[in-house]
Amino acid sequence: MTFSPSRRHLLSLAAGLGASVAFGAAVPRLARAAGSRDPRLIVIVLRGALDGLMAAPPIGDPDFAALRAGFADVAPLPLDNMFAVHPSLANFARQYHAGQAAVIHASATAYRDRSHFDGQDVLESGYPVPGHTDSGWLNRFLAAQPAERTTRLSGVAGGNLAPLTLRGPAEVLGWSPSMPDLADGDLAPRLADLYRQDDPLLAGVLDEAVRTGQIASGYTGQTTGDGGYRAMTRLAGGLSQLLIGNDGPRVAAIAFYGWDTHAAEAGRLNTLLAGLDAAYATFESALGPAWSDTVILTVTEFGRTAAINGTHGTDHGTATAAFLNGGAVKGGRVIADWPGLKPARLYQARDLMPTTDIRGVCKGLLVELFDAREGALATDIFPDSAAVRPMTGLIA
């Protein structure tokens, strides 16, 4: 394999970031789209099932207050008459009012069960059913680019483990900041729950370890490696550096976790959404002029129950909110066929009813940013999805 000058440049760029970069041999390249735009697509996967009703509360819905009365401790930021966003999403709200952000509400994949692994596999693989873990829709899109159309490297996966979204036959870069890896603050509470059932000895040892700070528990937003603020902004900054390079990648995927808020949801989402919002701000500033050509799509495997549970949280649900932001987004609107929250209108009498298939959003972005062909989108990139039309008009 010979290194082209552009790759050497990329390596030294990445070295300057204090990061590790992995290469594959034959990396497919993506042509500059017709016209002046040099589009970037960043897919953020939120693992754990984001509560769409908390992230983008439908404050204008007459049945919302009864479901969530007193749950949020700080007033949300209004978007329009009907919808608001969580107060931690201040930058997103600003982008919305500047016409550079949109919410896609009551959206979901085709998956109707409630397993995180299976839901994430469906979300990321692009298949309508779980069990497909070899490749993701975005990677297959890159792999489908014909050689003569392509002129540059195209994919970069952020973080320690490339999200399934960008895994597959097409070689992509991997980028991860050199910092202690994100500690999963959610592990210790779950482990404690498990120990408390049958193992009082280990439960006691774990409690003591948490109490004395030897094992991290919870997301505080203060400590390093907290799976939150610092990790999200570091990743956003690093990916941005790569995405603005003349010969750099144009497509990125990254996953953040911690969103499975079965308990103490209000406090946790305050922190987690603040981290996500800081990542949005970091992308915006670090991409510089490239921000005007960028779309960030934030998705999650499913939503959460409409009602609160007994531990100040929510359990696994179905429809949720997805976010679009970036200079290329035709924003300033909430895209939703809103089903309402009356009990009869809830999915299985418990969850927000899905009315938009998120695959349509992904397809629409690929068509309008990268001239993807609908036929391939319906068969290879999102198999068995002929009935799901690409959503048009997402791009400014």
Binding site: F117, Y195, V205
Partner: protein, 447 residues
């Protein structure tokens, strides 16, 4: 859901082995039979397949490095110890432990290495040669005779050096004017290696035994007696002449044979049989070893003149072996191997070393000749658990085809999997979290 046979197999595997390998044979009735076959076959693999250096060779290299250092010649190979240690770790954790079928033999090697413990933190020689000690003095004998292991251990340079016997000389020996008597080796042989504490020997016996052992040394200079520099040598000029009386028996043999006879008698003593039985039962079965089991193992030891194959078989076939799983915590050194095998993950030796240190059981580095403590409370500590959490989190994050955690936990635990663990793993937020929960579940930490 799981048959009784599956349950027995799973218990036996966990209790006596190193857990199931990724892609290895299923749990099933014949898993238990394979344990017994492994004992009968009695073959013990050599880490590094013969390519690792001998203890004597290592001692010579360390002495050469020390001499070079004294003369101001420093260089990358100045101290070969650290590199050797990593090679030894690699040869086991990525070698013999990783590819073992049940892991019983490796568990036995770890047990006996801890019973006849040396510690790397005492001298550079031991730091470098602890692995060689295990390969040469422990491994060949785990299915052999206790006396043979005992003799190999007490004549190994690493043990002699560790217990300060290399310069021990009898007061009436030719070297007695310049050198003094050291009782360390004699005491620890009686107290730790054979009879056990307070079993009828007194200080006079220890001193007499120490005199017997004078001259059991390591050849250092070319002019010293002995075949190979760095290897065991009996130095008659250091040996206390004359008969010695130990526990009522008089030993009037000459030279080296005097000590060999004492060791033979210690090896066949009822107290030794009991001591070994208790330690085996405590390690494999429970902190309070069942008295009936101890008695049975002790009797087997005595009846077979210390045939460790027979004793091991008696242990594995006992009723207690298949009862009440989960009484013990997997020691950190075991736990790491179990996790690696379950995930099919080889690791860098420096990573292996780091995990063992963080969990509190650095390889071949106990705080004393009594080895690492083998009871649950000592390992049920926040520090050790935090080390396991670190290990589980890091291993769960390593790429290369992370398995579905739901399948992983069912495959690796078999009939031992509890509903609580299965549900916790299924509900995890990410695959990585699911794998970490599986690795930290009570069924994985305990055996």
């Amino acid at each position: 859901m799981f048959s009784v046979a599956d349950n027995r197999a799973a218990i036996a595997y966990a209790r006596f082995g190193l857990g199931r390998q990724a892609g290895g044979p299923e749990h099933g009735d014949d898993a238990y039979i394979r344990l017994l076959q492994e004992i009968d076959e009695g073959s013990v693999p050599q880490p590094g397949g013969g390519a690792l250096p001998t203890g004597a060779d290592i001692f010579r290299r360390i002495w050469a490095a020390k001499a070079a250092f004294k003369q101001g010649q420093t260089g990358p190979d100045t101290n070969p110890g650290p590199g050797l240690f990593l090679d030894e770790l690699d040869a086991r954790y990525n070698g013999t432990m990783f590819t073992a079928d049940t892991g019983l033999t490796e568990r036995l090697v770890m047990f006996w290495t801890n019973h006849f413990a040396v510690s790397r933190d005492k001298h550079a020689e031991i730091n470098a040669a602890a692995g060689a000690f295990e390969r040469e003095a422990i491994r060949p004998f785990v299915y052999g005779r206790f006396f043979d292991m005992l003799l190999a251990v007490e004549t190994h340079p690493a043990m002699i050096w560790f217990l300060d016997n290399q310069n021990s000389a009898g007061p009436n020996s030719k070297r007695g004017k310049g050198l003094g008597l050291n009782e360390n080796l004699a005491r620890e042989i009686m107290e730790l290696h054979t009879l056990g504490v307070r079993t009828g020997y007194d200080q006079a016996d220890v001193t007499a035994f120490a005199r017997v052992l004078t001259g059991w040394t390591v050849k250092y200079r070319d002019s010293d007696p002995g075949e190979e520099r760095g290897g065991f040598a009996f130095n008659a000029r250091m040996h206390e002449p004359g008969p010695q009386t130990i526990m009522g028996r008089t030993y009037d043999e000459e030279g080296f044979m005097q000590g060999a006879h004492v060791l033979r008698d210690l090896a066949s003593h009822a107290a030794t049989a009991r001591h070994v039985a208790i330690k085996l039962a405590r390690h494999f079965i429970g902190d309070t070893p069942p008295p009936a089991l101890v008695a049975r193992l002790q009797q087997t030891f005595l009846d077979t003149q210390g045939d460790l194959k027979a004793v091991t078989r008696a242990l594995v076939q006992s009723d207690e072996a298949l009862a009440a799983p989960g009484q013990k915590l997997r020691l950190p050194q075991e736990y790491l191997a179990v996790a690696q095998r379950a995930l099919g993950l080889r690791l860098k030796p420096t990573t292996i070393q780091r995990f063992l240190v963080e969990m509190g059981q650095p390889m071949w580095m106990p705080s004393g000749p009594n080895g690492f403590n083998d009871t649950v409370p000592v390992w049920a500590t926040p520090v050790s658990l935090a080390g396991r959490v670190t290990l589980a989190t890091e291993l769960a994050r390593l790429p290369a085809g992370a398995p579905d955690p739901r399948r992983f936990v069912a495959d690796s635990l078999g009939a031992l999997l509890s509903d609580a663990t299965r549900d916790a793993v299924a509900r995890a937020e990410t695959r990585q979290q699911g794998l970490a929960l599986a690795l930290l579940s009570p069924e994985f930490i305990r055996r």
